[in-house]
């Protein structure tokens, strides 16, 4: 669909327009320093994979981008707008930033279709018919259109996560954040979710993914970022990141995760 046919993402022409920018972001939980001077630039259409040991601050980083967590120092700029405490500003940014959670967080009292239509109807103010048609389109894309009238509780984990992706896409976001989307899934369901994500990447969506799926990183990432103890230790293109890690911490992490 796009120009990207090879695995070497670096070869791709990247747009110069910055989508997400983090400048010297610091965050504390009480006395605990969770994010230390995090700097990150994500350009339009770029696919970033963030990995690292648990508790390294990778989830916190992407949760700061749509203000589910508040940072105390530094700037976060999304699509040209700087995040501040203004509620309207936060809501505007959240419309443009889709998020997929580890535990899906589908609304159990609504059907799959209603889950997808909720935000378009109430936030984008789209007529119900159009919203439903669009939702069906995205549900088809994640290959779950025949479950549209079921409730989330009736679906498997993998199906639920695909619905969650469709739900985010219905808002036509400019960036998608993935917070360990496959960690809560049984092994046989991981592939169906990853396939959807890969397809999305190939269509040119700007994506920031926190994941341990190194295969996914190798296939689609433009850049891989390794975080530890709240800071970015190393970033590189997938080829060099996996084959020639520079930092000792990265080497140790990769040796632990790739042993299996």
């Amino acid at each position: 669909m796009t120009t990207n046919t090879t695995n070497s993402a670096a070869a791709r022409e990247l747009n110069d327009e910055l989508m997400v920018e983090l400048r010297g972001v610091n965050k504390w939980y009480g006395q605990f320093h969770v994010l230390k001077d995090v700097n990150l630039e994500v350009r339009k259409g770029e696919r970033i994979v963030i990995c690292g040991p648990s508790g390294s601050g990778k989830s916190t980083t992407i949760r700061c981008i749509n203000r589910l967590e508040e940072h105390q120092k530094g700037d976060i700029i999304v699509g040209g707008t700087t995040l501040n405490n203004d509620l309207k500003n936060i809501e505007t940014i959240r419309r443009e930033v889709g998020m997929v959670f580890q535990h899906f967080n589908l609304f159990p009292h609504l059907t799959v279709l209603e889950n997808c239509c909720l935000a378009p109807i109430w936030v984008r103010k789209i007529p119900r018919k159009e919203a439903e048609a669009m939702a069906m389109k995205y549900l088809e894309r994640v290959k779950i259109q025949d479950q549209a009238l079921k409730f989330p509780g009736q679906l498997s984990g993998g199906q639920q996560q695909r619905v969650a992706i469709a739900r985010s896409l219905c808002m036509n976001p400019q960036v998608m954040l993935f917070d360990e989307p496959t960690s809560a899934l049984d092994p046989e369901m991981i592939k169906e979710v990853l396939d959807v994500m890969i397809e999305l990447a190939q269509e040119g969506m700007t994506m920031i993914c926190v994941t341990h799926e190194m295969g996914f990183a190798k296939t689609v990432a433009d850049r891989v970022i390794f975080m530890d103890k709240g800071q970015i230790i190393e970033e590189n293109d997938p080829h060099n990141f996996f084959n020639h890690p520079q930092s000792e911490r990265t080497q140790l992490f990769l040796s632990q995760i790739l042993q299996h």
Binding site: W28, Q231, I232, E235, N236, N240
Partner: protein, 371 residues
């Protein structure tokens, strides 16, 4: 090396958070003054606290009188605790003969010792102690409180009263209701249709009517139900009513505990060849009973508060005896002091027990209760 490559070899130090987000100021900003609405709410709450607490504290502590022997000692304009102090023994023991009060004290001392043994973690023989509390202690307590043998003088139940009567009613209610509750709960889960429907009807009947009608029934109808020669004591009638009422609530607590036991436990017990009663007694009930303790404590709190209703059928529990004291012409006009004292006693008991039950629930939830 590609132009994307960035590496950090030196780790950044942990820095203290900006001053505005920690410490007293940071805490106040986050919790009291995070925005305008919040600040207004905080100021309003502070004002409310001020207008509620200052007169109360001054009434209870600063301007109050504590010692003396008659109402003439109350001159400061605040609370007259002299009233409570003078009648304290009566509020605790009712009309129990003064020379025999040691018997009440001994009974409750024994009970407290046993309950503490059960509550404190890491003490051995809990099962034995529990059996003593449920089986041996009630008999002992009966002989101690009522007397009539071992050279103890008989103290008729109409002399019982005050906090000790409240406690007797609540404890008898719970301890005697427990076995009935277990049987009813097992019956309700049984596959035998007649047994099941009998238990359902019993439980729903008692849960559907107010305790006050139960007490009315126990005091007016119970004497009609038995041969004329059988003459029930007023206290005993109230106890029978309370136990029948409480069994239904206890059955629901037990049922909750039984439902929490995973099916695998039943299957494992059956696979070992245990029959129904052995499975229940050795495998299911011991686990379920432990899970039920918070629920039992909560129903105990409810019953403890409800025992105050016995004043309507003429028993002198703590509330009733204070209420009676308020009508004493020598002490007219001290109802607030009297009610405050009763409220304080009830509150200390109920709040303490509810905290204990919450503590147990948390321990079970976090899985540290597996002893």
């Amino acid at each position: 090396m590609s132009n994307l490559s960035k590496v950090r070899h030196d780790m950044l130090p942990n820095l203290p958070p900006p001053a505005s987000s920690v410490g007293v100021i940071g805490w106040m900003r986050a919790n009291l003054f995070s925005n305008i609405t919040n600040s207004v709410l905080t100021l309003f709450a502070l004002y409310l606290l001020y207008i509620l607490l200052t007169p109360t504290i001054s009434w209870v502590f600063i301007n109050s009188d504590w010692t003396g022997s008659s109402r003439d000692a109350c001159t400061s304009g605040g609370a007259c605790w002299v009233f409570v102090a003078n009648r304290f023994d009566q509020f605790m023991y009712g009309f129990y003969p003064e020379a025999e009060i040691w018997r009440i004290n001994l009974t409750f001392l024994l009970l407290v010792a046993q309950v503490l043994w059960l509550m404190l973690p890491n003490l051995p023989y809990k099962g034995m102690v529990a059996a003593v509390v449920l089986l041996v202690f009630p008999i002992l307590a009966y002989f101690l409180l009522y007397g009539g043998s071992f050279g103890l003088e008989v103290v008729e139940t109409h002399k019982w009263g005050g906090l000790s009567l409240t406690l007797v009613l609540a404890i008898v209610g719970i301890v005697a209701a427990l076995p009935f509750g277990v049987l009813l709960a097992l019956g309700r889960r049984s596959e035998m249709p007649i047994v099941k429907s009998f238990c359902v009807v019993y439980i729903e009947f008692w849960r559907g009517i107010p305790l006050i009608t139960v007490l009315f029934m126990a005091s007016v109808m119970l004497p009609l139900f038995v041969p004329e020669e059988m003459n029930f004591d007023k206290l005993l009638r109230a106890m029978i009513g309370i136990v029948m009422f409480q069994s239904a609530y206890m059955a629901e607590v037990v049922r909750g505990g039984l439902q929490a036991i995973p099916k695998g436990q039943y299957e494992a017990a059956q696979a070992l060849g245990l029959n129904y009663w052995k499975m229940m007694v050795f495998v299911v009930l011991p686990q379920a009973l432990k899970l039920m303790i918070p629920g039992i404590v909560n129903t105990f709190i409810a019953l403890f508060k409800d025992t105050s209703l016995v004043l309507i059928i003429g028993l002198f529990d703590l509330l009733a005896i204070v209420q009676a004291g308020l009508t004493d012409p020598k002490w007219l006009g001290f109802s607030v002091e009297g009610y405050a004292f009763v409220a304080f006693v009830f509150w200390v008991f109920c709040f303490g027990m509810s905290k204990y039950s919450q503590h147990l629930e948390n321990r079970f939830h976090t899985g540290h209760g597996s002893r």
